[in-house]
């Protein structure tokens, strides 16, 4: 069965591109425009095998979203990748502390993104 990826980003362009790349690679994609929406999608029954989230978002930012997801029993061990422009360690540390599995540094091309996803998502 196709794996489901929850893509969270407030930029529609970014979301579309990530979703397009994932769909082309055979994944199912659920999209959300911010952390709050993402939590809503999960509570509404979405069962992602992987979460890809932006950090800077209105309503609920990525770090808070990661913390929220880690609180959910079903998603306790689900890989979460954060998209970040900052190659800065601060952001990475904050993400790790919140429970993020890893990160993808923007800008990235589809191959780079798929490489990171393969790294954390069991085939």
């Amino acid at each position: 069965m196709a794996k489901t990826v929850l893509v969270v980003d407030d930029s529609p362009t970014m979301r579309q591109m990530v979703a397009f790349t994932l769909t082309s690679a055979g994944y199912q994609v659920v999209e959300a425009g911010n952390g709050k929406e993402a939590v809503g999608k999960v509570n509404g029954g979405a069962k992602p095998d992987l979460v890809v989230t932006d950090l800077n978002m209105p309503e609920m930012d990525g770090i808070t979203l990661i913390k929220e997801i880690r609180k959910m029993p079903a998603l306790k061990f689900t890989p979460i990748l954060m998209l970040t422009t900052e190659a800065s360690d601060d952001k990475k540390k904050a993400g790790q502390a919140a429970g993020a599995t890893g990160w993808i540094v923007k800008p990235f091309n589809p191959e780079q993104m798929m490489a990171v996803i393969k790294k954390v998502l069991p085939g």
Binding site: P12, T13, P58, R70, T85, Q96, N109, P110, V120
Partner: protein, 707 residues
């Protein structure tokens, strides 16, 4: 790149426009509320998204520049810097520059590097410390890898205990390592395992030692542990088996400047300055006397001709609320049902079923009309898009004119046709400039008149019947009747003996060349503009009117049709022909009595409508038709009005009212005075749509053409 993302570029540009607007609006509000963190966050997010997205498409100029803006915004946000007018100015200028850069990215044109570099430098300078990092500097490990040579790595890894809590799976790491080469040896280290009672199944106590034979280098192996390096105990020992001499990596050689910047020999700013001193090919050729300046400019013209069509070829797109589309799809569903009901009825029709048929047809009509309305609705966008440029404009104007101006916007959510919105931007700008420059008084004059120092300009939009009204209102000095009259007489627009109503006097300011401003500023006062405003609005089928009270202010009201493509019309008959009269211009229709009619030599026929004499036009005379009725007391007179002028048009009969789609005459035939366009009527024949303005001209000049 195997997956092509270039078709998302349009989406990127469209989204960027939204971010640009957010940033601009935000920056303007920031001056009023410098400490508003939410606002700063919003602005920051806008810049951040542009930076991230532009990097994805390889628009490095955009992402690098945005990065500099973002750094400043970030410092503002974290209170390391304070919002000052100078900084807002700089950010606004940078925003303009960013707009240009994005446009350049879209059209492929070359941006003004020197300007970009200068602004970039100022952005860096205002932060105190220059930002060394570049947004796009992401060294991809595998691209920089050393030439192959087989290594045998001994890797010892004890992951942090919380591994599972971060969604990481040790098996994934082992798999990834295995994919890089051959694992020749693997050993499990269970030394950290506690006694069973103390074991937490959600913790990771294990460690591994493995030997890997691979052609990859240390960096690649190390990169596998990117996400866990910090809390892991990790040693990687490299035992090279054999090595090949290092070959130079020459694919995609970098420009010299870039390398110099990377190695820290020069800064990006210095490099840009040097680059900006580079002469253009044309200049060099002229200096060497190989080509004349004329030849160069000719060639440049050719070059620009080549790029211009490419710019036009982009198809404009429109964002539509998904709710609107869902409703439309529902309606289409209903239409299909009605259609299948009809075809079912048609296949075995009997006369007794006629009422059913009529009912179905009525249903079809309802569906069609509703679909039409909804489809028109797709083109409808909120006028707020057109309003959004004004806060910035007014800020700039108030600075230039030395006046304090507050802009109040309302009715931004009012929707109208996208083409109309695009065309009203310029006229509205003229009106707002006019209000700021002529309408509002300087602060001292305002105080002397007992008004608050700060002047107010209000922009409002609302629906009124089938049209939309946009008002531009100021609380300034109002129009000066005597001054306008004097100027009108001086410029020969009117004669001294002319008796004009107030309204007619106000309309004088829309005459070409008219300006009462004592001094010409670079904002307005050159007498160009107001006539263009009127022409543009009329070109859209709208009207402009003025209300003014001396000392209290002036209000300009633009009345525009909701859409350009469809009008509500009254169908009338003259002889055998059908004409359509725009419903908006019909005041009333009457059947005159004999004593209401008068004939005056030189002025033609007049009809007295409740005390006012209006010119009477027989439509059959205008278009040289054979009428059924030539006696006005038996025919129908339509009283039509446009721009405050009225005319009575005589027709044989009123047939009914319907919405008609306007088809252009000029494109398909040629322009005919008195006819605005044509349409296809219910019975398939062509009907002409009357142009009331044109009819008034004909009645005044007495000229007419056969249609």
């Amino acid at each position: 790149m195997s997956t092509d993302l270039s078709h998302f570029k349009d989406a990127f540009f469209e989204e960027s426009q939204e971010h640009l607007t957010t940033i601009e609006e935000g920056l303007l509000q920031l001056e009023q509320r410098p400490g508003d963190i939410d606002l700063l966050n919003r602005i920051f997010r806008g810049a951040h998204s542009i930076k991230g997205n532009s990097g994805m498409f390889g628009f490095t100029a955009v992402s690098q520049f945005t990065h500099k803006m973002e750094s400043v915004l970030d410092q503002l946000r974290s209170s390391q810097m304070v919002v000052t007018v100078a900084i807002t100015d700089l950010l606004l200028q940078s925003l303009d520059c960013l707009k240009t850069l994005i446009d350049c990215a879209r059209t492929g044109a070359a941006p003004d590097e020197a300007h970009v570099a200068a602004l970039g430098g100022r952005l860096e300078a205002c932060q105190g410390t220059p930002a060394p990092g570049q947004a796009t500097a992401v060294p991809a490990a595998d691209e920089r890898s050393l030439p192959p040579g087989t290594h045998r790595f001994t890797i010892t890894w004890a992951p942090p205990r919380y591994l599972f809590q971060r969604g990481l799976d040790p098996a994934q790491f082992l798999k990834e390592l295995a994919s890089l080469g051959t694992v020749t040896h693997l050993a499990l280290d269970a030394g950290r395992l506690p006694v069973l009672m103390e074991l937490d199944p959600e913790q990771c106590y294990l460690g591994w030692t493995l030997e890997l034979e691979t052609g990859k280098d240390l960096k690649v192996i190390d990169a596998v542990f990117d996400f866990v390096r910090e809390d892991s105990t990790l040693t990687i020992v490299d035992n090279p088996v054999e090595t090949h001499p290092t070959a130079a990596v020459s694919d995609g050689a970098k420009p010299l400047g870039e390398i110099l910047v990377e190695t820290g020999v020069v800064s990006q700013t210095q490099l840009n300055q040097a680059l900006s001193q580079q002469k253009k090919v044309g200049e060099i050729l002229v200096e060497q006397k190989v080509a004349t300046p004329e030849q160069i400019s000719e060639a440049l013209k050719k070059q620009s001709e080549c790029t211009v069509p490419a710019k036009k070829a982009e198809t404009p797109s429109i964002r539509v609320d998904t709710v609107k589309i869902d409703r439309l799809i529902n309606l289409v569903g209903e239409l299909v049902i009605t259609q299948s009901m009809l075809s079912d009825l048609g296949s075995r029709f009997e006369m007794s079923q006629l009422p059913v048929l009529l009912e179905r047809v009525a249903q079809l009509e309802r569906n069609t009309r509703e679909i039409q309305e909804r489809v028109m609705g797709i083109r409808m966008v909120p006028i707020g898009n057109a309003f959004s440029r004004f806060p910035r404009l007014v800020r700039d104007l108030s600075g230039k004119a030395g006046k304090k101006i507050q802009l109040i916007l309302s009715g931004e959510e009012t929707e109208l046709d996208k083409t109309v919105i695009e065309s009203i931007g310029d006229p509205l700008t003229h009106l707002v400039r006019n209000s700021a420059d002529h309408g509002l008084e300087p602060p001292d004059e305002r105080l002397a008149a007992g008004k608050p120092e700060q002047g107010i300009i209000r922009l409002n939009a609302f629906h009124e019947g089938g049209s939309i009204c946009i008002t531009v209102e100021d609380d300034g000095r109002g129009l000066n009747r005597d001054k306008i009259l004097a100027k009108g007489i001086k410029q020969g627009l009117i004669a001294e003996s002319d008796k004009l109503s107030d309204e007619q006097i106000w309309m004088l300011i829309f005459k070409p060349g008219f300006s009462t401003a004592e001094k010409v500023t670079d904002v307005s006062g050159r007498g160009v503009g107001m006539d263009v405003v009127k022409r543009n609005i009329e070109g859209l089928g709208g009207t402009v009117s003025i209300k003014t009270v001396t000392g209290k202010g002036t209000t300009f009201t633009l009345k525009l049709p909701l859409t350009l493509a469809i009008i509500e019309g009254m169908t009338v008959r003259v002889g055998q022909d059908t004409y359509i009269v725009p419903l908006l211009s019909i005041l009333e229709s009457i059947q005159p009595k004999r004593e209401m009619l008068k004939s005056i030599v030189g002025k033609g026929e007049l009809v007295n409508v409740r005390g006012t004499y209006l010119p009477l036009m027989r439509l059959y005379d205008v278009f040289r038709l054979e009428p059924e009725l030539s006696d006005p007391t038996k025919a129908i007179l339509l009283i039509l009005e446009t721009e405050g002028e009225r005319v009575a048009v005589m027709v044989d009969e009123i047939l009914g009212q319907q919405q008609v789609v306007i088809k252009s005459m000029e494109q398909n035939f040629r322009k005919i005075e008195g006819v605005a366009g044509a349409t296809i009527l219910g019975d398939g024949t062509v009907g002409f749509i009357l142009d009331v303005r044109g009819l008034l001209n004909i009645s005044r000049n007495g000229t007419a053409q056969a249609a």
